[in-house]
Symmetry: C2
Subunit: 138 residues, 2 copies
DNA sequence: TTAAGTGCAAATTATTTGCAGTAAG
DNA sequence: CTTACTGCAAATAATTTGCACTTAA
């Protein structure tokens, strides 16, 4: 990790009003380190830290994912009653979900065209729209 | 509940290859008894049985919802990491989810027009498409 | 009669929390 | 220094499961 990259991750945190602690920087590096978007679960991210130098406890991974989500750095995607997924791409975009492996991935955003969306009932506004395309191996 | 209604519910079960037991009939009645579509959680359905004559254990409610889903009588909707919802309307249609009360309801199907949908990757087919419109009280 | 269904209590899984210690501003 | 953050272990919440009993076919 170069100085430049460290700077990017620290900025990602501080711009959201979060302290760049050792653990948060380690998680940030795993999440946005290579510039690609990523879909993680608490468990998968925890596993990833176990391969690195900077260990982070599982409880902190859970708490940090929640903090990052609340701060708008991640988007929580609910596809599976059991596990929560977090996406580093926080914009509205569709997902593929492989039912057999429980893997979540982005679907090409440009291939989803919603011509009309139901409008929010009186007294409500749309907070977000989740489109999940569930896939079965054929 | 009239004889006619009992017949409807027994048919609902047997047409899916399920034995119409006392417990399943009681749950079926609560689910499709009045002909309206319904969104339930295991807990909410269990609560409903507690007001009736036919008691059903919570474990059986859980098991039965799973069995009904697997048989195609219900559709499981995942909106909330914690709880599972089941919809008596098994067709593809959009949902509103109230974030504050965690209430799930149908969104008007005719108001959702998807002009283009990403196609399934090689080796996969679309099993279903979930569209959940999350609402914030304004 | 017999395989499927049920109910209880215990087990499991994902996640959160209390609290004492640690570190960032 | 002082308040936020971390880590552990214990708590919680939703759901599943093992197993003896019951019931539909």
């Amino acid at each position: 990790m170069t100085q430049q990259e460290k700077h990017t991750e620290a900025n990602w945190l501080t711009s959201a009003g979060l302290r760049p602690t050792r653990q948060r920087l380690a998680l940030a590096q795993l999440l946005i380190g290579d510039g690609n978007h990523r879909h993680v679960t608490a468990e998968s991210l925890y596993e990833a830290t176990r391969d690195g130098v900077d260990k982070v406890s599982l409880a902190t991974v859970y708490n940090t994912l929640r903090v990052f989500s609340d701060a708008g750095l991640l988007r929580e995607i609910t596809v599976n009653g059991a596990r929560s997924y977090f996406d580093t791409n926080v914009s509205n975009h569709p997902h593929f979900f492989w039912e057999d492996t429980e893997e979540l991935m982005d679907a090409p955003d440009e291939d989803l065209k919603i011509a009309q969306l139901p409008e929010a009932p009186e007294g409500a506004e749309i907070s977000k729209v989740d489109v999940v395309i569930r896939l079965r191996r054929s």
